[in-house]
């Protein structure tokens, strides 16, 4: 196996994908939504809200960032990787290159991860910075909160992205399925008793936050699961979904719509 050539191809597909997700008009919507935490914290600071502190930051970011922004940005970008290429009739250009379908899926997923983290991480760090600056505190005062949210952003992007990627190779209209899972199931599952919440990504993201953040609204959530195990589950889930996506994509036939 020529590793140089494989890396070259990986780079090309990754670069093409991340450029598509970041440099075309679609980025206006995703960047705007990704910036909501920053806009919110700036608004609270500008309005000189007395109780605006790291606690309020967490109270807001858990439902807003993890359950709306993260899901929307990952959904819109992950479902574009394969399904939009099929809908746009540009997939034949890639399929007639000497690159295997599983490799194509994997490299596109890496490109997606890069793009999504570029969208989500800077506004989150800046929002945290605004919060600390507003209280006159140093950037490193509540680093556990920042690490907690960064970890959940990275792992959530990986897990949701892999899941939505799998849905997009499986069904023709992945956004509908993704919306149901992302905005309905992930919101409702926490209220279901028993072990059902373990069938959601948000459960593990909350678990990580509850352990990483010293004092926060999620303290005591899922005490039987450590942050490391939760992270491991999310990573394993992401890898499994990408492998499944690659397998399904390998077997897929492409009829192409009329131009």
């Amino acid at each position: 196996m020529d590793w140089t050539e494989s890396f070259r191809k990986a780079w090309v597909v990754t670069d093409l994908t991340s450029r598509y997700l970041l440099a075309t008009r679609r980025v206006i919507a995703t960047a705007l939504l990704a910036a909501v935490p920053l806009i919110l914290t700036l608004s609270l600071a500008a309005a000189r809200v007395a109780i605006f502190d790291i606690s309020l930051f967490q109270i807001l970011m858990i439902p807003l960032f993890l359950q709306v922004v993260l899901i929307f940005v990952t959904l819109v970008n992950a479902t574009a990787l394969i399904r939009e290429e099929i809908d746009d009739n540009t997939l034949p250009f890639l399929l007639t290159r000497p690159i295997s379908k599983p490799a194509l899926v994997t490299y596109k997923y890496v490109g997606y991860l890069i793009a999504v983290l570029v969208l989500l991480v800077p506004p989150l760090i800046l929002a945290y910075g605004v919060t600390e600056a507003y209280r006159g505190l140093g950037f490193t005062t509540d680093l556990d909160v920042l690490w907690g949210f960064l970890a959940t952003t990275v792992l959530g992007s990986a897990a949701y992205g892999a899941l939505f990627l799998f849905i997009s190779v499986l069904i023709r209209r992945p956004l509908a399925g993704g919306l149901l899972i992302g905005f309905v199931w992930e919101s409702v599952v926490g209220s279901i008793p028993g072990d059902v919440p373990k069938l959601s990504v948000i459960h593990y993201l909350r678990t990580i936050l509850s352990h990483v953040v010293a004092i926060g609204p999620l303290n005591g959530y899922a005490p039987d699961l450590s942050a490391g195990v939760a992270a491991g589950i999310l990573i394993a889930f992401s890898i499994a979904m990408v492998i499944l996506s690659a397998f399904v994509f390998q077997q897929m036939e492409f009829r192409q719509k009329a131009g």
């Binding site: 250009f93 399929l95 007639t96 192409q256």
Partner: protein, 306 residues
């Protein structure tokens, strides 16, 4: 069987619709035209050849190999799809370069080859414009450039002249001819016979998913000529004209569908057209109209499919 493309009993279903129906053909070296009406199965065959579809029955090989999930084979083929969509946010240069780099070419070499390919297809002036602003003809050329740029062994071109202006058509056909002259194989689909006649004599006729004729274009024309060819003549005195035309050995029958119309069936239409003016002149009979409803690809198919 050692043709560039070998298909034996290939069938492909789209649900209940049969895209290819026990298609059997062998495509030789050089340029081969795949000719058939819309919906005949041309694109289905091409998608099987590039590994985008898998046959439900039969065997199909390209350059001696099964195309399905065959990564090394992709190096040897260049494909120009029928659809006009490109990566709109990339310039023409970037578009060809990216695909070349996916062929395994280093960046510097890909840049040089992309520039050369775009020059060959006549897109140098527009190479640095985003492809979303390209006209249909320019998109066609960009597609051809990415198919040619990595110097494949075989070009598979799905309706390459569709949407091209007359000058563009000439340019594209010349590019294809040059490629074949340099030793490449070309498989090109079209539903217009005269387009393919300009660059090759080898055609395969496809209809309803079946190969109904294959070989030299003149041989297929001769096939047509063996079937009586209908000629409709508008004249005030059809029976008198028929009497005069009856002396031609190759005339098979006469019909009088209207009081001023004569339909002649002849086995040798070329000879008929050559002799008709003299006969009309000798008999001083007036001819108001002359039409051959059989001189079309549809007529060929009707004859061949019965």
């Amino acid at each position: 069987m050692n043709g560039v493309v070998e298909a034996a009993g290939v069938s492909k279903w789209y649900g209940e619709v049969l895209g290819l129906n026990a298609f059997t053909a062998s495509f030789g070296q050089g340029i081969t035209g795949l000719v058939g009406p819309n919906g005949a199965g041309k694109s289905t065959l091409f998608k099987l050849l590039i590994g985008q579809l898998r046959s439900d029955q039969g065997n199909i090989t390209l350059l001696g190999e099964n195309p399905w999930n065959n990564v090394p084979l992709k190096r040897r083929l260049g494909y120009c799809p029928e659809q006009n969509q490109l990566y709109g946010w990339l310039t023409g240069q970037q578009f060809v370069e990216v695909l070349l780099r996916l062929d395994g070419m280093p960046a510097a070499k890909a840049r040089v080859e992309a520039t050369a390919a775009l020059k060959v297809v006549g897109l140098s002036n527009a190479a640095h414009r985003p492809t979303r602003g390209y006209s249909r003809g320019m998109r066609q050329r960009a597609k051809l450039a990415q198919a040619l740029a990595h110097h494949p062994e075989i070009l598979i071109l799905d309706e390459p002249l569709s949407g091209a202006d007359p000058a563009g058509r000439v340019h594209i056909l010349r590019t294809i001819s040059d490629f074949a002259r340099d030793g490449g194989h070309v498989l090109m689909s079209t539903h217009v016979l005269y387009e393919i006649e300009r660059i090759t004599n080898n055609i395969v006729l496809i209809h309803n998913g079946k190969a109904i004729a294959a070989g030299n274009i003149h041989a297929i024309r001769a096939l047509i000529d063996e079937h009586p060819h209908a000629v409709r003549i508008d004249t005030a005195k059809p029976r008198q004209l028929a009497q005069a035309l009856a002396r031609m050995d190759h005339v098979v029958s006469f019909e009088f569908p209207a009081s001023d119309t004569l339909v002649v069936r002849t086995r040798q239409p070329d000879a008929f057209y050559r002799e008709l003016p003299q006969i009309v002149s000798d008999t001083k009979l007036e001819v108001h109209g002359l039409e051959s409803p059989d001189d079309s690809l549809d007529a060929v198919f009707r004859y061949l499919v019965g």
